[in-house]
């Protein structure tokens, strides 16, 4: 049995962020059909858990649930996408300790980056490894701050910062050089 009060809360807390939830699900699953399934599942979870919502940051709360639903979906349908995460963290640590994060000379000019069209940009983001992709989407597409991203992706703020830096470096190199060759 469900109280009408829960419906009212669901409408005011969750539904305003449906567009953001859908966008995140689309970036994580890679297509619109799966994104709709993920968002629907996330909304059912949000509805069941609406009593546990503390009322502080509805958008971050909805996105956290959506991300969780997306990862469950990925685990069922694309387990290879998730298996990379641990390896990637290891790689990230190694790069960091070697000081490989400094901008290299081969990085393209800002003017070249600015020429990328929407399709090129989307494809480049879609190719980012999952942890980098979600950090970049949450920050640069959806406009969350580091604290919110840390909350949604359940990692420390320092990790958010380094993932974001790495995601942007990969993007710059990708959209700046790939097209100039073709």
């Amino acid at each position: 049995m469900v109280a009408n009060d829960d419906y009212a809360r669901f409408r005011t807390v969750v539904l305003p962020h449906l567009g953001d939830a859908y966008a995140l699900a689309r970036w994580l699953t890679g297509n619109t059909t799966d994104a709709e399934d993920v968002v629907q599942e996330a909304c059912l979870r949000a509805f069941r858990g609406i009593g546990g919502f503390t009322g502080v940051n509805a958008r971050a709360w909805v996105l956290t649930i959506t991300r969780h639903a997306a990862f469950t979906w990925l685990g069922k349908n694309r387990s290879s996408a998730l298996m990379m995460v641990d390896d990637l963290e290891e790689l990230e640590r190694r790069e960091l300790s070697q000081g490989a994060a400094m901008p290299g000379q081969e990085t393209p000019e800002a003017a070249l980056i600015a020429k990328a069209d929407a399709a090129r940009l989307e494809a480049a983001i879609a190719q980012l490894p999952l942890p980098f992709r979600e950090a970049l989407v949450l920050r640069d597409v959806q406009g969350l701050d580091y604290r919110e991203i840390a909350q949604v992706t359940k990692v420390p703020i320092g990790t958010v910062m380094s993932r974001l830096a790495r995601a942007r470096r990969r993007l710059m190199t990708d959209i700046g050089t790939d097209e100039s060759r073709t």
Binding site: Y22, E109, A110, A114, R168
Partner: protein, 272 residues
């Protein structure tokens, strides 16, 4: 932020562009920017990339109809055990199947609700002049109970956990009631709602006795008419009143008087 990443300018420049640095670190980055063309170029690239994303990838709206499908999915998983089911008319929509039935049930229920609320309040207005305060309250208590039976849900917060039900009342009524689950005594707690008795919002607890519901309203003493503990019967419903800890309780149900009496005893014993 770990100590390894703390002072790496290649990382800090991102946090700087994002406005996430405290003033001390921001100053440090600005000093580094002034003396390091490579870092300044990186800053320009980051800002270009961000501008590019903003311009090329505008905010995405959910597809039309997604919100509606989600609400339908939620309604589909929601159990509506009391009154929605009899009103669903699957035989009218043989091809439409189960998904349509709940919305028709809800529609029919809300029409019924409107009729009942409308007619009973009219009736109350006409009759109220001739009633004693206790009789008028009994009528309002009964009307609230019947209205709850006709609504899709008899409780606005549905839970058998008193730690869920009691806090729900905070801010809705002047004083949250004592909430006890009487499942062991054969009266499991279903949830709570707010009723309006004589223009005052009062907390109502909902209990179940087999297939019957019991509404228990807790009126603060100063709002309560002078009544002694009494059982009255109106239109097939039994109403039991008692005073306890400065509160006037009204229990209303279609259970038999001995059951209602047993309920009152169990509640008094558990909450006293």
């Amino acid at each position: 932020m770990t100590s390894a990443t703390k002072n790496d300018p290649a990382l800090l420049i991102h946090a700087y562009v994002d406005g996430e640095l405290d003033p001390a670190h921001a100053l440090e980055v600005e000093r580094a920017l002034a003396g390091d063309p490579a870092l300044a170029a990186e800053r320009e690239r980051i800002e270009t990339l961000q501008r590019l994303i903003r311009e090329r990838l505008p905010p995405m709206a959910a597809p039309p109809g997604l919100a509606r499908r989600i609400e339908a999915a939620i309604a589909g998983t929601t159990e509506r055990p009391f009154f929605a089911r009899p009103f669903s008319l699957p035989w009218l929509f043989p091809g439409a199947g189960v998904r349509r039935a709940p919305s028709w049930g809800a529609l029919a229920a809300s029409v019924m609700l409107a009729l009942i609320v409308g007619s009973s309040s009219t009736w109350l207005t006409l009759r109220q002049g001739q009633l004693t305060p206790a009789e008028a309250t009994a009528d309002m208590v009964l009307a609230s109970h019947i209205r709850a039976l006709k609504a899709p849900q008899p409780a606005d917060v549905a839970s058998s956990d008193n730690h869920t039900v009691k806090p729900w009342f905070n801010g809705r009524v002047s004083e949250a009631p004592r909430v006890v689950d009487l499942g062991n005594e054969g009266f499991p707690l279903i949830g709570g709602r707010v009723d309006v008795i004589g223009r005052v919002p009062v907390p109502t607890l909902v209990y179940r006795r087999r297939q019957h519901l019991i509404s228990l309203m807790a009126l603060p003493n100063d709002q309560a008419p002078a009544v002694t503990s009494a059982l009255r019967s109106i239109a097939g419903y039994n109403i039991l009143t008692w005073r306890q800890n400065g509160t006037l309780y009204w229990a209303v149900s279609d259970v038999a008087p001995p059951d209602l009496d047993a309920f009152a005893k169990a509640f008094r014993a558990a909450s006293g």
